[in-house]
Symmetry: C2
Subunit: 347 residues, 2 copies
């Protein structure tokens, strides 16, 4: 048994939280509740209860006043690790926890995606152990990363979440779902692959150097890694960089070399094949949305197809002329598909 210390601390300069939602946000909550009621997703009783709660929201501190670029970096302690996260969005429905890619921190989530998701639920951006402002040592296994991610979710007092995992974050999302099935309602896996997938034991020789190249500014590294060589894709990439540079204050700390090394090991181990390697996917009964670009040079696209074929209840979307970061390139289309998926009735 693990002993958990659940303590939410908000540090300066992150405390500048507006304590009440705007009238506009309240109106959005009401519209959303009416939609859910109309679709039969919530009962009239639940509608009445939520409506009352929504009316009372202005008098209680909550996260819905924030958006991607204004949500303060917050911290929660669990298992001796102080996890950094940001939380914002519409406080109804099942919250979604976002699990980040290799070398990414809280500032690498795309506001075009998170804001769209936040219209219908709370969005919780996370730094796993050892990443950015999170303390602790980054584990050298996905299993360890999944334990830490689940600790963070538990420490936030969340008992039922949706997961969004991109790339290595998708490995973690799969493992959390296998380890803690009761915790997870639906899963979105982007640019990722199964344990022991095709060509996942090591990076392609043409791709590996892209992670070590020095740029000025360094975030230009993501253009060849996340986007295809076409003009259209590269232009979308520059728009993406503009979006993630949009947050000016309260930014995260860079990912340390020690964490990069540990995560490299974890990713390599996950990618290495094993007998019956895809059997574990059969245990994941949650609805899963699998998304990728047509030619993912980091985790070959065929692995998204393998995920869909081996998961009992998965939908696959592959975008044209795109690479590892297809959801950044097709952020609008992705957001529509993702919110449709999350809001779909379970029946």
């Amino acid at each position: 048994m693990q002993t958990k210390s659940n303590q939410t601390t908000e540090l300066e300069p992150h405390a500048a939280v507006t304590p009440m939602p705007s009238a506009d946000r309240l109106a959005r909550i009401h519209t959303r509740l009416e939609e859910l009621l109309e679709r039969g997703d919530i009962s009239p009783e639940a509608f009445a209860e939520y409506s009352t709660v929504a009316h009372e929201l202005p008098t209680t501190a909550n996260t819905s006043a924030h958006e991607h670029n204004t949500a303060p970096t917050q911290f929660v302690e669990a298992d001796g690790i102080r996890f950094a996260y940001r939380r914002f969005g519409n406080p109804i429905g099942t919250p979604i926890v976002l699990l980040q890619h290799f070398m990414g921190n809280l500032d690498n989530y795309d506001p075009a995606v998170t804001e769209a998701l936040a219209a219908g639920r709370e969005v919780i951006l996370t730094d796993n152990a050892g990443v950015g402002l999170s303390t602790g040592a980054a584990p050298e296994t996905v299993a360890g990363m999944a334990r830490d991610a689940a600790s963070l979710i538990d420490a936030l007092g969340l008992t039922h979440v949706d997961l969004f995992g991109f790339s290595m974050g998708g490995y973690v999302a799969q493992q959390v779902t296998v380890d803690r099935p009761e915790l997870v309602r639906r899963v979105i896996l982007v640019g990722t692959g199964p344990r022991g997938g095709e060509g996942m034991a090591q990076l392609d020789p043409d791709t590996a150097p892209l992670f070590g190249t020095i740029y000025d500014p360094q975030d230009l590294m993501w253009l060849p890694i996340f986007f295809s060589p076409s003009d259209a894709s590269q232009a979308a990439g520059r728009r993406f960089l503009g979006r993630i540079r949009g947050r000016r204050e309260d930014r995260d700390a860079p990912v340390s070399p020690a964490t990069i090394a540990a995560h490299s090991t974890a990713a390599r181990r996950w990618g290495a094949g094993a007998a019956g390697r895809f059997d574990y996917l059969r245990e994941i009964h949650q609805p899963v949305l699998v998304i990728n670009g047509s030619n993912d040079i980091v985790i070959p696209t065929v692995n998204s197809y393998i995920l869909q074929q081996n998961l009992p209840n998965a939908e696959l979307i592959l975008f044209p002329d795109s690479n590892h970061g297809s959801h950044f390139q097709f952020s609008e289309q992705f957001s529509r598909s993702a919110t449709d998926f999350l809001e779909r009735s379970n029946v």
Copy 2:
């Protein structure tokens, strides 16, 4: 050079065409035009022009007064063949021509799909040569079927269309697009595969007998062919059968044994492999939406993945727990994805 006789004849009892659209349909056209204007898909000048045309519509005969179950079976002659078709929907935008599956006729199109498509464009359901009420001999090659389909489109005076091909109709849609690239704007391929695809030279031994089994009524044959064995999928299948049985009058004629034999030969030839077998897909530069079920027992699902990977500009959607007829099972989700795709700006 072929000599074409373009003559549209409407026979009794198919002549009961209401000559003017309802006020409701006119309002829908206006709303749609406003959306297109707002999105910048049409110029203010075009908007003004279309609006004027829309106002004049009530005084001219047109097809928009009809829906799936009321659209009369019409006929057009080309190359000595009298082609049967039905045409209805919103007379703006690029019309979409639907190409039918093996053993299917005009009554096998799903109104849940065609009505959704018809909200934003004209929908033209077709019987290829030798099918149903169309005269002529069914060709024993997909190339021949594609020539006939293009003749039909030409005979209708259409110069720019979207194509929707399901199963063998998807083979024809690919071939028409290769042969007549200037004619085709966008393509939707459902439950189909490339020339020389995986496992396409002959039907799976478990699947082949399903096409020869006698049922009462015979349309029950589609439950195991189009839907997965799960309760949910079979229930969706029964709803689909209910929908295609909904048209009571002016139904099509059954597909003849001679046509079934010819189309079997055509499908087998298309499925047989050849060197450089997927090269032709590189010539298709139109945007393509590829859709299939997770386990297509007629044309293995991997062929949808192969299509997406080899077409220069294709998006793939694979649905969970589904088979050859995934668009019938997920008709609502399919229709939303299809209309999104058709209405997406080309930029």
